[in-house]
C-alpha cells in the first residue's frame, strides 16, 4: 500500500497536504491501480491513512514516497529523479541498521558477495594513473548534489570525496570517518595484491567491509576506471605527497 509508485500516488500525496484528519489521505481499495477506471485514478477516493497504526518502517516509506514531502521529480545528473535517489538497492536496505542492530555473519557474507560481484576490472589490468590528477579527485567533493543547488557536471569535474572522510597527505585537512591513509603506499608497497585490494576497496568497499560507511564509487559509476587509477596513484605512487 505504501509502495505505490503511480501518478495516482502523487495526486494522493498532494491531496493529503490539504486534509487535516489524523494525518493524511491516500487511495487504497486493495485493488491494483490498473483495474480501476481512469476517473478513479485521477480523483482518488479519500481513505484516511492512520499514521499511528503503521509500523515505523511502513510509515517512513509512506512519508518518503507518498506524503508529498520530497521533491520526487527533481532531476538528477544521471538522468533519473529524486524518487530514484531515495529508492534503496539491496545493499542499502540490508545495511540500514538501526542503533543496537548488528550484522549477522550470514548477512555479512551476502553483502560481501553482492559487492564482489559488482566489480568490473580494467581490461588491460589494474594500473596506477597520474597522482597529480588523483590528488584533485581525492580532494573534490563536487558532484551529484541536486536539491536546491544542483552540481553542474558540465562546468566542473566530479570528485571522489576521499578527504571528507580520510586524512591523506598532510598538506590538507581530512576527516576521520575513515582511517588515516597517510603513508598508505609507503606501508603497503605496490605489489599486484595491494593494487587489486585498493582497486576493489575504492570500487566497492563492501567486498571487504560489509555495510561500511564508505561509498561504492566504482559500482555506482561516480568514479570511472581512469579516475580510480589516478586516485590509486595518489595513494600508492612513491612520488605522491601521501607517501612523503
Amino acid at each position: 500500500m505504501y509502495k505505490k509508485t503511480s501518478t495516482a500516488a502523487a495526486v494522493a500525496a498532494t491531496t493529503c497536504l490539504f486534509l487535516i484528519v489524523g494525518g493524511c489521505s491516500a487511495t487504497s481499495t486493495g485493488k491494483p491501480e490498473a483495474d480501476k477506471p481512469e476517473a478513479a485514478k485521477a480523483a482518488p477516493k479519500a481513505k484516511a491513512v492512520d499514521y499511528a497504526a503503521m509500523s515505523p518502517k511502513a510509515l517512513a516509506e509512506y512519508l518518503i514516497f507518498e506524503s508529498g514531502s520530497y521533491e520526487l521529480d527533481q532531476p538528477t545528473q544521471e538522468g533519473t529523479n529524486g524518487r530514484a535517489r531515495l529508492t534503496q538497492d539491496d545493499i542499502q536496505k540490508t545495511c540500514s541498521l538501526m542503533k543496537g542492530e548488528n550484522l549477522s555473519d550470514k548477512t555479512r557474507e551476502k553483502v560481501s558477495a553482492l559487492a564482489a560481484a559488482s566489480i568490473k576490472y580494467p581490461e588491460d589490468g589494474i594500473k596506477l594513473g597520474d597522482w597529480k590528477k588523483g590528488r584533485e579527485l581525492a580532494w573534490s567533493g563536487f558532484g551529484y548534489r541536486t536539491a536546491h543547488n544542483p552540481d553542474d557536471h558540465a562546468k566542473r569535474a566530479t570528485g571522489g570525496n576521499c578527504y571528507n572522510c580520510h586524512q591523506l597527505a598532510t598538506d590538507r585537512t581530512g576527516g576521520n570517518i575513515g582511517p588515516s591513509l597517510t603513508g598508505y603506499g609507503k606501508i603497503r608497497g605496490n605489489s599486484p595484491a595491494t593494487l587489486k585490494y585498493t582497486y576493489e576497496v575504492i570500487y566497492n568497499p563492501h567486498t571487504y567491509f560489509a555495510c561500511t560507511n564508505m561509498p561504492r564509487m566504482g559500482a555506482t559509476g561516480v568514479l570511472s576506471q581512469q579516475q580510480i587509477a589516478d586516485i590509486m596513484a595518489y595513494l600508492l605512487d612513491p612520488a605522491s605527497p601521501v607517501n612523503k
Partner: protein, 280 residues
C-alpha cells in the same frame, strides 16, 4: 558587548508586557555549563564562535520578531498573541522545547516553523503566496524573525517533546527509521555522520546523536550561522544535510521533515536548549 545591553531592554519590555518574568537562560551560560560537564570536541570546536556568543546577531533578529509578534498584521489585522504553540494561547515560555507536538486543531504533529505558519494563516489571514509566509529563509524574513524570538523564550530549558499522543510516537519512530535509512548516490544515512564520538568531515566536528549534552547544540535552532551571515532554522539544516547526502529537496513543514525533527529533538531530551545559538 554594547549590543547585549541594547537587546536586554526591548526583551525585558516584551516579557513584562506578556508573560511576566523571563525564565530563559543566556545561551552562552548554557553552553559554558555543557562544556564544563562534557569534553565534547563538537561543543568546543570554535573558540572564536564561543567568544562572540554574547553579541550574537541573532538577538537583533529576535528583537524584530518580538515586535512583529505583537503587531496586528495581515488581512485580519491581528497579532500573533493568541497563537497556541502547545502550552496555551500566547504562551511562549518553554514552548519551543516541547515541539514538535500533536495539535488537535490540525490533527497533525507540527514543529515551530509549521505551527507559526498555521497561526499566520488562521489568525492573521496570510496565504501561502504572501511574502510573510512564502519567504522561509534569511534573517530578513518574517518567519525567521518570529521563530528566533519565540525560540529564545526556551533558552536553558530542557528539551521535552511530548510523546503521549500516538501520532507523536509514530512520527518520532518513523523519523528514527529515516535517520538510519541509507540511500542516494553515496549510500548515506544521517547515521553515517552523526552516531560516533569525535568524528569529523574534513575539519568540521560532527555532533553525535547519542550524546544529548552534545546533540542539544546541534538541534538548537534558530542559530546565527557565521558562514552564512544569516539566522537559520531546523528546516534549513535538514535541507543542507540532505543536499550533501545527494538526496532531493524536502518540502518545508512536510511530514517527513517533521518526523526527522521529532526524532532528533527526542534524542536531546533532558539537555538544555541553547537559544538562540551561534554556529559556524
Amino acid at each position: 558587548m554594547f549590543k547585549k545591553t541594547l537587546r536586554a531592554l526591548p526583551i525585558a519590555l516584551a516579557v513584562s508586557a506578556t508573560a511576566g518574568l523571563s525564565m530563559a537562560e543566556a545561551p552562552e551560560d548554557v553552553l559554558d555549563k555543557l562544556i564544563k560537564k562534557t569534553n565534547s570536541p563538537y561543543l568546543t570546536q570554535s573558540p572564536q564562535n564561543i567568544m562572540i556568543m554574547p553579541d550574537n546577531p541573532a538577538w537583533l533578529v529576535a528583537d524584530e520578531g518580538a515586535i512583529l509578534f505583537r503587531t496586528p498584521r495581515g488581512p485580519k489585522n491581528a497579532s500573533l498573541e493568541k497563537c497556541d504553540f502547545g502550552k496555551g494561547p500566547g504562551v511562549l515560555e518553554g514552548a519551543h522545547v516541547e515541539l514538535p507536538r500533536y495539535f488537535a486543531d490540525t490533527g497533525k504533529v507540527m514543529d515551530l516553523d509549521s505551527r507559526l505558519v498555521h497561526c499566520m494563516k488562521t489568525l492573521q489571514g496570510f496565504t501561502d503566496n504572501d511574502p510573510a509566509i512564502k519567504k522561509k529563509h534569511g534573517s530578513d524574513s518574517d518567519i525567521m524573525k518570529l521563530q528566533t524570538y519565540i525560540a529564545s523564550k526556551s533558552g536553558g530549558m530542557s528539551w521535552n517533546p511530548p510523546m503521549n499522543h500516538p501520532m507523536e510516537k509514530a512520527m518520532r519512530n518513523a523519523g528514527e527509521v529515516m535517520f538510519y535509512r541509507r540511500s542516494g548516490t553515496m549510500d548515506f544515512s544521517c547515521s553515517t555522520c552523526h552516531t560516533q564520538d569525535g568524528k569529523r568531515i574534513r575539519a568540521s566536528v560532527l555532533p553525535n546523536i547519542n550524546r544529548p549534552d552534545e546533540w542539544t547544540k546541534a538541534i538548537s535552532w534558530p542559530a546565527y550561522r557565521t558562514s552564512h551571515d544569516h539566522v537559520r532554522s531546523s528546516q534549513h539544516r535538514v535541507l543542507e544535510c540532505l543536499w550533501q547526502m545527494r538526496y532531493p529537496d524536502i518540502r518545508n513543514g512536510s511530514d517527513a521533515s517533521i518526523a526527522l525533527i521529532s526524532f532528533w529533538t527526542d534524542a536531546a531530551r533532558g539537555a538544555p536548549a541553547i537559544l538562540p545559538d551561534l554556529k559556524r
